[in-house]
Each structure stands twice: as C-alpha cells, then as structure tokens.
Symmetry: C5
Amino acid sequence: MARKRQKRKLKAGLAPGTALFTGEQKMERLEMSVLRYDADLYEESFPGSLEEVLSELRPGGPVTWVNLDGLHEEHAVERICQRLDIHKLTMEDILSVGQRPKVEEHADYLHVVLRMFMMDGTIRETTDEQLSFILKGNLLLTFQERKGDVFDGVRKRLRESKGQIRRRPADYLLYALMDAVVDNYYPILETLGEQYEELEMELLDNPTRAALGRLHILRRETILLRRSVYPLREVVGRFEKMEEPVVSEGTRVFIRDLYDHTIQVIENIEVLRDIATSLLDLYMNSVSNKMNEVMKVLTIIATLFIPLTFIVGVYGMNFDYMPELKWRYGYFVVLGLMFVAVLGMMYFFRRRRWL
Amino acid sequence: MARKRQKRKLKAGLAPGTALFTGEQKMERLEMSVLRYDADLYEESFPGSLEEVLSELRPGGPVTWVNLDGLHEEHAVERICQRLDIHKLTMEDILSVGQRPKVEEHADYLHVVLRMFMMDGTIRETTDEQLSFILKGNLLLTFQERKGDVFDGVRKRLRESKGQIRRRPADYLLYALMDAVVDNYYPILETLGEQYEELEMELLDNPTRAALGRLHILRRETILLRRSVYPLREVVGRFEKMEEPVVSEGTRVFIRDLYDHTIQVIENIEVLRDIATSLLDLYMNSVSNKMNEVMKVLTIIATLFIPLTFIVGVYGMNFDYMPELKWRYGYFVVLGLMFVAVLGMMYFFRRRRWL
Amino acid sequence: MARKRQKRKLKAGLAPGTALFTGEQKMERLEMSVLRYDADLYEESFPGSLEEVLSELRPGGPVTWVNLDGLHEEHAVERICQRLDIHKLTMEDILSVGQRPKVEEHADYLHVVLRMFMMDGTIRETTDEQLSFILKGNLLLTFQERKGDVFDGVRKRLRESKGQIRRRPADYLLYALMDAVVDNYYPILETLGEQYEELEMELLDNPTRAALGRLHILRRETILLRRSVYPLREVVGRFEKMEEPVVSEGTRVFIRDLYDHTIQVIENIEVLRDIATSLLDLYMNSVSNKMNEVMKVLTIIATLFIPLTFIVGVYGMNFDYMPELKWRYGYFVVLGLMFVAVLGMMYFFRRRRWL
Amino acid sequence: MARKRQKRKLKAGLAPGTALFTGEQKMERLEMSVLRYDADLYEESFPGSLEEVLSELRPGGPVTWVNLDGLHEEHAVERICQRLDIHKLTMEDILSVGQRPKVEEHADYLHVVLRMFMMDGTIRETTDEQLSFILKGNLLLTFQERKGDVFDGVRKRLRESKGQIRRRPADYLLYALMDAVVDNYYPILETLGEQYEELEMELLDNPTRAALGRLHILRRETILLRRSVYPLREVVGRFEKMEEPVVSEGTRVFIRDLYDHTIQVIENIEVLRDIATSLLDLYMNSVSNKMNEVMKVLTIIATLFIPLTFIVGVYGMNFDYMPELKWRYGYFVVLGLMFVAVLGMMYFFRRRRWL
Amino acid sequence: MARKRQKRKLKAGLAPGTALFTGEQKMERLEMSVLRYDADLYEESFPGSLEEVLSELRPGGPVTWVNLDGLHEEHAVERICQRLDIHKLTMEDILSVGQRPKVEEHADYLHVVLRMFMMDGTIRETTDEQLSFILKGNLLLTFQERKGDVFDGVRKRLRESKGQIRRRPADYLLYALMDAVVDNYYPILETLGEQYEELEMELLDNPTRAALGRLHILRRETILLRRSVYPLREVVGRFEKMEEPVVSEGTRVFIRDLYDHTIQVIENIEVLRDIATSLLDLYMNSVSNKMNEVMKVLTIIATLFIPLTFIVGVYGMNFDYMPELKWRYGYFVVLGLMFVAVLGMMYFFRRRRWL
Ligand SMILES: [Mg+2]
Ligand SMILES: [Mg+2]
Ligand SMILES: [Mg+2]
Ligand SMILES: [Mg+2]
Ligand SMILES: [Mg+2]
Ligand SMILES: [Mg+2]
Ligand SMILES: [Mg+2]
Ligand SMILES: [Mg+2]
Ligand SMILES: [Mg+2]
Ligand SMILES: [Mg+2]
Ligand SMILES: [Mg+2]
Ligand SMILES: [Mg+2]
Ligand SMILES: [Mg+2]
Ligand SMILES: [Mg+2]
Ligand SMILES: [Mg+2]
Ligand SMILES: [Mg+2]
Ligand SMILES: [Mg+2]
Ligand SMILES: [Mg+2]
Ligand SMILES: [Mg+2]
Ligand SMILES: [Mg+2]
Ligand SMILES: [Mg+2]
Ligand SMILES: [Mg+2]
Ligand SMILES: [Mg+2]
Ligand SMILES: [Mg+2]
Ligand SMILES: [Mg+2]
Ligand SMILES: [Mg+2]
Ligand SMILES: [Mg+2]
Ligand SMILES: [Mg+2]
Ligand SMILES: [Mg+2]
Ligand SMILES: [Mg+2]
Ligand SMILES: [Mg+2]
C-alpha cells in the first residue's frame, strides 16, 4: 500500500488540476488505438503520433472508442483533455492513480473511474490498474496505466458484430466495458475462495505458523479488494439512474443487470470476510487444542513417573539403617507397589478422559 | 462454493443475454409439466416435446402453470423466452444459477428468482437449487435446475381445490409457491438449531477437536444460508407493494403474511449466528479451562514430588563424611520431614483453591 | 428453541389460513372469561360453553373483554374468528405460536401479537407464552396459550374503578394490557441483571467451569429475550401513530408513555448484552491469569529443584575415582553451594516480579 | 444497576400516572427555592412550606425558576403538577427515577429529563441523579433527587447579571441549565480517560489480576455512562428544532452550540470504548506474553538439566559390572560430556531466539 | 488526551461566549500576517500591532487573507470578532481548542473548524493544532494555535499567480486552504501505513512484548486520527452544497474534488483500522504458536528423559537382593532397553507430527 501512494506526497502544495502522474511508469511509451463503428462500419487503427489521435476525436457520427495505454506521458493526456474541453480536475483524476471508483456527470461529458483487476490463472497472480472513462456524445475515451486489459471479448463482439453492440450508441459500449471489468472480479473472487478452502483443510489438520502467515495475507488482500469494489455499488447505481442523452433508454436495462452483478460481487466479498474471521477462530482454537494435547501428554508422563522416581530415590539413599533394604523381597515389593500406583494413575486419567 | 461458480469464468467476454447454463447438469433430460385450472377446470399434462409446451403458452384464459426441470438444455429455455417476448437478460438470469434472490418488474411480465432448499429429514442432508418464476398475465412459468421441489402441497391443494387457490388468478399461485419455498426454510433452520444444541451439550462436557471442526462447518453453512435468505426481505417487500394488475388486491394480504414469515426466517438465522459466536466462545473457554485443570494436576504432582526427590537425592550422595547417614533414626527422620513438607504443600494448594 | 418449533414442519404444504395450533397443549380444556364495563356497569362471567361466548361478541355498546386460555382447541378459535369476520390469516397467526411481535391494521379490526413473560420470583423461573389481541370496535379479545397472566392489576383497577380505565373505550384497555405486559419485562431484566452481577463476583474471584456454563446459558437467554422484545419498538411505535377510530385521541399520550418504557426495556437488554460480552472477556482473562499463576508456581519449583537434584545426582555417581567424595567437608561445601544457587534463583524471580 | 430498579417491580399493576417515587430517599426533607428575575429584578427565596411555593407558580411576568430537591415527598410533586395542569404521565416520569433522557412537547408546556453527573474531584467519586425540567411560559421548574447540583455557575451569573441571561426569557434559562449539565460531563470523561491511561501504563508493565478487575469496572462504568449520554443527541437536536413560543429565535443559536458539545461528549465516550477494547486486547496479549516467558524459563531449565540428571543417574546405578566406573578419568569424562551437551543446548536456544 | 482537555474543567459555570483559550500557550507572542490580492494586485504585510490588523478588515474589494498565529491572547481574537460582528459563540469556538471539525453558516459569515496535522518527515513526528476559518464577503480570517502551517504551497501559488487562484473570490481561497489541510493527511496516513507494515514483518517473525506495545500505540493513534477526520465528510459535503454568495458557482466543482479526497482519506483510515485488528490477531496467534512450540520442546525432552531417569533410578536402589545387578550384561541390557524406549517415543512424536 505504501509504495503505491509514494507520489501523493509530492502533490501537496500543487494547484488543483495540475497534470501529474502519481504512479510508477509501467511501459516504455504510450500506445494508442482508435476504433470506429456503427451497424455497417468497422475501422481499427493504431496511430503512432498524438496528432493523429487528436484529429480522430469527434463526438458526433459513428461510435469512436479511443484507448490510451500508459499515463506517464502526462502531456498527451493533457492535450487530449484540452481538445475535448474536459475539466482540469477530471484530467488530474485520470493521472492520479489510486482513485476511489466514482462516476461524475459534467455538463457535456461523463467521467467514470474503476479499478480493473486481471488474473494470470496459471500462477494465480493478480495485477490491477486504474481505468478511467470519458464519455462525450458518441466518443468514448479509456485511459489505462499499462498495456493489457479485460476487453478482448468486447473487441471480438465488435469485430464480429455479435449481439446488438454495433447497433447501439456509445453509452452501450461504456456499459459493455464496465461489465467486462465486473465480470473479471469473479475469477479473482473464486481464486481467493479456493485459497481460503485450501487453508481451511490445512488448519483443521495441522495449524502451522506458515498457514497463519498465509491467512493473514489472504485477509489483507480481501480488505484491499473490498475497498476497490465496495464503491462500485454507488457508481453503477448512479449510472443506471442517469437520464437521456447520457444513458439511452435501451441501455438502462443492461445497466440494471450490471448492478445485479456488482451486488453479487460485493456479497461474495462479505462472505469471504466472514470466512476469514471464521478461519482465524478455527486457527486459534486449533492451536489451543493442540497445546492442550501436548500438555496432556506431558502431564501424563510426568504424573506417572515423577512419583515413581521419588520412590526409587528413597531406596537409593545411603542410610546405615534402612530395614526395608535388608528384606528378602523388598525389591519386588517396591516394584509391585509402583505397578499398583501406575494402575491407579491410569484409572484417574481415564476418569478425566485424558486417555 | 468454488465448485458452484466454475463456469462463471467462461462467461467473461460473452455478450450480455447469451444463453449459457452456468451450473452442472443434474438430470439426464429436460422434464416439463403443464397445469391449467380455474374454479371449475383442472387439467394436468406432461408434454414430451418442446413444441407441445410452446403451444400451451397462453397468458390469457384460465391460469396456466408451466414447470421446467433441467436448465442444461439452454435451447429450450431460449425458445420459450422468445415466444413470450422475455428480455434476453432475464433469460440469461434463468440460466445463470447462483443468482442472488431478486424481483424485477418488466413492462409486461414479472421475474422472480429464489433459492429453494429441500431437506432429506432422515439423513439431515440439504440440497438447494435456483428457482426462477416468470409471471405474465395468467401464465406462470417456473424453471428448476433438477427434478424434485417443495410444491407437492400446492399441487394437492390445486387438485383437491382446497382453500381458495382455484378461485384466484396466477399472482396467487406465484404467492403460494413462494410461500412453499419460505415454509421449507423452517425445517432447515430447525435442523441447524438442533445441531447447534447437540454441539453445545458436547462442548460443555468435553471440547474435542472434532467438535471444533463440526462447529466451524455449521458456522459456514449458516453464513451461506444467510446469504440466500437475507435478500428475500427486499424481494417479498417489493412484491407486496406492486400494483394491479401484477398483484391483485385480494392477494396482497397473503403476501404480507409471507413477508412476516420471511422476517421470522431472517431473525432465526441471526439468532443462529449469535449462538454460533456464543458456542465458539464457549469452546475456547472450555479448552482454556481444561488446560488450566491439566496444568494444575501437573503442577501439584511436580510441586509435591520434585522437592522430595531432591531430598532423597541428597542422602543418595556418596560422600565419605555425611553424619546424618550414621544416625540411628536418620532414615525415619527424613521420611517424617518429607511427610510434613507434603502436608505444607497441601495446605498451600487448598488456600489457592487448587484442590 | 428446537422443541418449540416442532410443529412448524407439519405446516409446510398446508393452505394459508389453515387452523392448526403449532404449540404443545398446556392445559386440559379451554377456559373463557367475559368482562363487560363502562363508567357505571361492571359484569364478570365465566361461560362454560363456546356458544355462550359467541353470543357475547358485540363490538358495540359497553366495553367487552373476552379472554381465552388454551389454543389447542383450534375449533373454538376458528368459530370466534368467523363470527367476527376475522381474516383467516389472522386466525392462523393466533394459533401459530412462536410469532414475532407485530401489529396489523385490518379494515375493521386491529391485530396485535406479543410475547408475555411471567416470573416466579421465589424460584427465579420464567415462563412465556404468545398473547394475541383482536380489537374490534368496543370489543377486545385476548388469546393465551395457558391459564395465568400479568393482568391481575388491570382486573383490579377495572373492578375497583381506579384511575380512568372505566371511563375510556376499548383501545385504552388494549393499551393497559400491553402496558402490563411491558411492565412485566422489568422484573425479568432485573433478575437477569442480578444473575450477571452474581456471576461477576464469582468470576473475579474464581473462574470455574460451572460459572462458564452458567454465563453461556445467561447469554443465550439474553439473546432469546432480545428477540422477543426488539420488534416491540416498531409495534408500539406504529400503534401510537394509528388514527381515530382505532386509537382515540385521549389514549395516544398513554401509548407514547408505553413507547418510552419499551425503549427503556430494549436499552436495558443492550446493556445486558454488553455486560455479557464484558463478563466473557473477564472470564477468559481470569482463566489466563490463573494459568499464568499456576505456571509460575510450577516454574519456580522446577527451576529451584531440578538443578539441585542434578547436583546431588552428580555426587550419587559410583565412579571409583571422584576426589570430592573424599574431602573432609565435601558434603557441607555442596550443601552451601546449593544454598547460594537457591538465593541466586530467588533474586532472579524477584527481578522478574514472579514472587 | 439492580439496586436502582428495585421499586420498578412495585409499579407493575398500578394505574399509569400513579404518583410513586421509585428511588431511594436521599435527603431528610424536601427543600425548595424560588428565583424571580428580569433585566432589572432579582429575588431569591427559600419557602418552607408547599403552600408558599404553590402561590409562586406564575407562568407569566418575569422569569421564575422553582427548584425542588427531594422526590420522596410524592405528594408535593403531585400538587405542583396539578396546579400547573401537568399531565399525570409527566408527573409519573418525574417520580420514576431511572428514566431515559428525553424531551416531550405538550400542549402548553415542555418536559425534559436528563441525568446529571457530579464529581468530587479529590476522591474521583461520581454521583448521578435524575433531573426533570418543566418549562411553562416564563416559569421553569426543576426536580432533583437530592440537594447539590451543577448550577452554581448559572446562579452566580443570574445574581451578578453576567452575560445576557437576565435579559432573556425562560427558554434561555433552560438552555443554560442543560448546558451546565453537559459541561459537567467533561470532567467525568477526563477522569475516566486518566484512569484508562494509568491502567495502560500498568498493563504494559505488569498485567496483574487487580488491573484486570479495575479495567472491567471502568468498562462497565463507560457502558452505563454511554447509556445516559447517548439519547442526549436526539433530545438536544429536537430541542433546537422547536419553534416559537417554546424556543425564542435568539436562543436557538445557543442550543446549536449545546448540540455541538453533546456530539463531542458522545464521540469522547466512543473513543473511551475503543480504548477499553484496545486495553483489553493489550491485557490479554500481555498475559500470554508473560506466560510465554515463564514457559521459556521452565523449558530452558528443564531441557538443560533433565538430560544431565539422567546421565548422572546412569552412573549412579549399582550394577556389578559397569566398565566406565573403573576408568581413571571416567568421572571427568562424564563431566566434560555434560558440559558439551549444555553448550549444544545453549546454541539450540539461541537459534530459536529464546535467549 | 487528558492533557489536552485540562482547561475544559475551568469552563464549567462560565457564561456561553466567554473568551477563554482552553489550550496550552505554544508561542511567545501573537504573530499576524495580511495578504491582499486580485488578478493584478498582490500585497503582503506583517502588522506588528492589533490596531493595524483591525484597520485591514475590509470584507469588500480585493481578497484579503488575515492569518493569526497564537490564540493565548484571547483579547486580540475578541476584538477582531467584535469588529466583524462575529457571534460570541463563534469566538468561543475559535478559542476552545479541541473542537470537532464543523462548518456553520451564519447570517453574513461562514465558520469552519478543522484539525491541521503536520509531519516532520525525517523524525516521523506529527503535530496537530486547531484551525478556524471565518469567511465574510471577500475577507478570510484564519486562526492557528501556533506558528507553522501547511499553506506554503498556496502562498507560493498566490505570489506567482499560478493556476486561477488570483482570479477567483475568497471562497476559492478557503477551498484551497482546506484542500492543503486534507492533502497533508496523506503523508500521515502513509507513515502510519508504513509503521503497520514494519510491525507486520516483525510480528510474523518474532512477536516480542515491545512490538505489542508499539502496536497498541499505533492503534490508539489511528483511533484519535479517525476522530479528527471522520466529521470532515459532513463538513466538506455541506460546504459543497452551500449556495451563492457563500460558494460561487465556479468553486463548487473544486469542492467536489476536495470531497473525493476526504472520502479517500476516511477509507484509508478504515483500512488501517482493519489492518490493526488483523495485526492484533496475528500477534495473538503468533504468541500462541510460539508457546506451543516451546511446550513441544519441553514435552519431548521431559517425555524422553523422565522415564529413563526412573529406570536408572531403579537400578540405583540399594536393596540387598536385586538379581539384575549381578548379571554379567545387566548394565548393557538396561542401556539397550532405554535406547529402544527412545526409538518408540520418537516414533510416537513423529506420528503426532511434533518432530
Ligand atoms: Mg492540492
Ligand atoms: Mg472530476
Ligand atoms: Mg480529484
Ligand atoms: Mg491496461
Ligand atoms: Mg456482467
Ligand atoms: Mg473501504
Ligand atoms: Mg458479460
Ligand atoms: Mg433480468
Ligand atoms: Mg443478469
Ligand atoms: Mg427442482
Ligand atoms: Mg408461509
Ligand atoms: Mg450475504
Ligand atoms: Mg489463550
Ligand atoms: Mg403455508
Ligand atoms: Mg394477519
Ligand atoms: Mg401468518
Ligand atoms: Mg396465560
Ligand atoms: Mg408501563
Ligand atoms: Mg432478533
Ligand atoms: Mg403500569
Ligand atoms: Mg410524559
Ligand atoms: Mg412514563
Ligand atoms: Mg441534586
Ligand atoms: Mg456547554
Ligand atoms: Mg444504551
Ligand atoms: Mg458553559
Ligand atoms: Mg458557532
Ligand atoms: Mg461552542
Ligand atoms: Mg500553525
Ligand atoms: Mg486535495
Ligand atoms: Mg470519533
């Protein structure tokens, strides 16, 4: 957590609306793509220069989706925002990674910030980045911290004109991309859930210190994930309630569906939190239990042998006059006595259910 | 939990409204039934083909209840929904098992999703499945994951025309089925409650590790059950507030009664949660207590015998000059001394209330 | 808890509004009483047959209070409800004991359900039962599970015409009876509070396992009591807000007073819950503390004597050549050495504040 | 807690509005004072008889403040209330000590109940009593359980005509008295805070059983204080929102200031609760930690000496044929061996960081 | 905490609106500065006398920012407030340090109270003080407890006319200063976060008592910081909603941005709280775990050697007739037997996974 916010400290004292990227640079140079489509048209291009992109920024006509990967070139973001009359504070938010998810309606554009999680399924590693949307008329801009996103399914549907996506305006594209982001929380949650389940097995069996460390880390991940997901409820809820022309009537029912998914994701996180608490209790009790068993073994052994050791010690004393030592069967009498004492102890342990 | 959501991963990237069953197939082939009734009429049929069912889908006239068991034949669900002009997202929800309970009012139909629990009383095993309702005019559709449900009582009342069910429109049938679902939460809760009670007896008596594992599992079951039941408060509450023609005036008082039951179920779950926490504390404290008792036994034994063993060790030393060893009653003096020491210890233990 | 809900299982599948008593039969036969009064009139009768009671059910004229003890004769309740045009669902609620407290306003009657607690002060035992009210015009019906209630004070005031009760309509009688029920929560709470206080003394002094069991039971009782009392806030709050003719203007200020009492009862329960948690922490910490003390004693004894026992063991060895054994004062040197070692240990223990 | 509610039991069954003092008598006889003032007038008197007081009860003219110390003379309270047309339920509330703080607006008077805390700073002892206000026109009545209050500052300001108090109507006097009550919560909170701080030092240093007991008692005091203070937020909030003529426009800004103080008091209590929880965790962990250290000492000693004692035991055996015993340097070899073993153990303990 | 509120005790009994500084004096004498600017004008002055400042208090014309460091000269604050017709209660609030953050709209001025935190990054020490704002027309007053604040960035922007600050009215200056205060919470939070992270490493590795003490102190700091920050949500939220002329239309969007930051700060604190709880659990479990390991070592050693010591004790007895002692290989048989016993124990420990 600390590493991520390093540059926030630099911000104190700057004018609001200053273009300053607060993250670490994650790719060498800015990459841009432009997609233009309607029911009949489909064009894809990867402009090499900022000037080319600026000339594509047309809010009217067919839907245009401009994507930028890489926020470290603050200057590029600044120029695009200026061209489209985006407020300086919005531009600052795009560059300030570590934003809380939010939606803001401005006079002639909509601004949405989300946290996008991606998972490499084979190694179970998760990366996340800030994702900002600007929706202005039929133009949608997306800003990412680095190359790689969860939008390949949407791109495929666009290219192959699957479903109704090509027949709908840009607000539907915004919905489709947000839906892709939310859909990708599920595998993250499932992996977390699986990790909790594996830990559960282990904890019931043998509560080691390594398992405790892992549980602690899982729990902290759950806390941080919750923080990124929880504000989504309000974001999507407010998006659903927006009026024409921001959200067209046909898109609203889809946003309601997205809202359902968001609630489900949040509930799953709450369940994970409950399970984390439950596992912690399990751990603590397992350790207590184990210690109890260890103690019982120690107590049984000590209780059995310490008195016996005393008795044999008595007859190891070197007094000149100890009549028992002279007896013919003294040794065997003592052995027998000790055997009886052991039986008595055993009975005592059984009654206390220690054996 | 993880197993159930397996196929959600496949969904990422698909167009919204795609017909994809996300559960495991639970029966070999789709089974369908059609019931048509009014005060005088009662017809039951089990169509073998989808075409037959499609021809029965008439929202007007007498009440028609069409039930489908088996969602893996996505194609059948898709065709039925198309015939009735059901929105693609609704159809997707029917097939996406693992939905959160919800009610959605569409332009000309009502969509309700519940989680139906059934219990095999003899082996105390619970199964659950997703249950979706579509109410369109006088036509009610129910979609289940597998054969077997909690509606036999309702079917009997329909057949024998018990109560007023045959004289009321389809919204009353929807109520009656939802009521049957909620009524069946009670035995689940009662069984959970009994299991908690059994555990309580055991924990007070002897807190074993097996009991801890069982408590943990009960607790997780309670968490998951709560998740399915909690949203019902809102679902039934909104259902009650719907207006004509969705809910007819005579049915509303019944839904209010259903709402009461729902609140009661939720409160019972909250009580179970409190009891689970309470049992956990009991367990933890019982273990501590037991360990304390074990420690006391160990300490008493060790404290009694370790000093005595030291004394006898002293007189087991082989020094050439140890005057006591020559004394006539040295041995008996030492024995007496040790006896007095034991009495002193005993007094100390009593004062500390360890004996 | 489990025992009480046994018959709920039987309900699944029945038509709503079916007359089925879900509790255990608590008295041999139904007992009925009828009270009729106004400022000048006062009549008391105990009809032996249902027919007699039915003929007394007049909503107009002087106030009539009809009380029924015993719900197992479902048929009696059913006939009374039919005569007064009470909805079938209300009748079902009267017979379904284990209802959550509630108030329901119907077209021409008011339905209130409470849980009535009674305490036998000498043996500190509490019994509780479901109490239902039907207020229709100037007629008030009360349904109890068994003979015995908390209304003797009200009956006395009626008989002796104390206060204004005889000069007011039936809504005031309803208020007075509900007030009697709520007033009787206080002694229950006080007894619970006393029991917690006794436990507190005991726990601070000597945390036994028996005390733990008692705390657990007290805590569960508090959870269950809370469940019966918590919904009262809403019940009385809604009762207060009802309009003429259900609640007459002069009665409202009394209901507001009742509302105050209800809030106070709820707050007292919350305080008891906090105290229960606090006591549990106290218990756990007392046990830890005691174990710590036990451990210290063990450690002191073991740490003092184990090294000494080793030393005497050394001089108990039988080597042919051990020079010390030949020394004139070897024995006394060793004794002195051990004495010094003990002093060193003592110093160590003091510094760690174990002594 | 139990002691305070003793007489509540007697109330069950009485008519509402019965004059019954539910507390313990705290002073021998009723004491009364009357203050009458406006900008120019200032009169103080201490009537010896009830009749005198009754003749002073004039809601019009200059501000009149009548104070009663001692509620056990129920008859006096009853007569005053009757003279001013105070509702019987209000009178009952004045006499029922243990009320929750509240404000009630009646047709022509305002009724406020608070809990007044006073602290004797030198012995850190707190007393509290119920304080009731009746504001009717320009007449303010205050009812206290016993002599002694927190109003000396207000009396001084009245006498010396400090600030604007003499130029304002009786609602400002009510505000000033309530403000004095709230101002006196601060020293209570500060003393509690200091006690928590002292405990913190002690717990970090040496967690004794006495400290645990004290923490438990502090915590319970915090719970009970919170209960008296929490409802104040609503009381003062509603007081602020009252309209002319109850609250005059110039007084409202002062009540808003009082509201601020109330919120601050509540927040301070919440902080104390958090600190109590935090201290409890600290205690528990300190005890565990100490026990861990004790265990380590025991284990080190036992692990060092038990094996050595075994070795010397071996050479203390009396077998006829034990070759080592005959060796010239057997004794020294064994001593050396044991020394090496001790060094090995030490290394093991260091590696585990026990030393 | 206690130290800070010392003087609150003195306040009890004073008239509301009395000028009394409740903090400790933190600087020798009052220091004042006046800044006057618009788009073209920029004047800075440091008046040495109160009279000079009083003559600068002009709500009209260019923006005027008057800053006072040092509240112990109550008289200065009082005279400034009188000159500007500030309510006596506002003046009292300015001098009563330890206020909860709040915003109050008066007829012709706005009053804001915040808590300003500053951090000395190198030594990680935080200081905080109360900061009050009075906004009246184009005049902004700031009152600080001591010299030194977080406004140097704003002063630089004013001097160099960076951004739009010089072209906007005084409400924007108020925003800019509040924004600087909130921006400075981030480094505090980051440092807290780093300290938690360092502790986490340490706790997982070796849970010492010193770490526990540090965790407890961090946790208390988090509680107290939360208390200062939490009310900000409401303060900034209400500030945003204020209307012209208090907040000009162009400033509102900036306040909304400030609101975002506030929410983020609050969420970060909540995450820190969760992490503190999580670390506490980690600590407790680590200690339990360590104790468990210690116990295992003790038990293994004791269980291995105590029985062996008994056996050698047996053959150290001095009975005249003990046949084994005469055997030729008795000694070696016993040694072998003990070796086998050790192997058996080892097997037992392995099976219990203690080794
Ligand atoms: Mg800034
Ligand atoms: Mg923005
Ligand atoms: Mg921003
Ligand atoms: Mg990316
Ligand atoms: Mg989705
Ligand atoms: Mg959060
Ligand atoms: Mg999708
Ligand atoms: Mg849908
Ligand atoms: Mg859906
Ligand atoms: Mg089924
Ligand atoms: Mg039902
Ligand atoms: Mg849930
Ligand atoms: Mg423990
Ligand atoms: Mg039913
Ligand atoms: Mg009903
Ligand atoms: Mg019912
Ligand atoms: Mg009864
Ligand atoms: Mg009452
Ligand atoms: Mg409840
Ligand atoms: Mg009463
Ligand atoms: Mg009243
Ligand atoms: Mg009252
Ligand atoms: Mg007093
Ligand atoms: Mg005050
Ligand atoms: Mg309370
Ligand atoms: Mg004051
Ligand atoms: Mg103010
Ligand atoms: Mg103030
Ligand atoms: Mg300063
Ligand atoms: Mg900022
Ligand atoms: Mg706070």
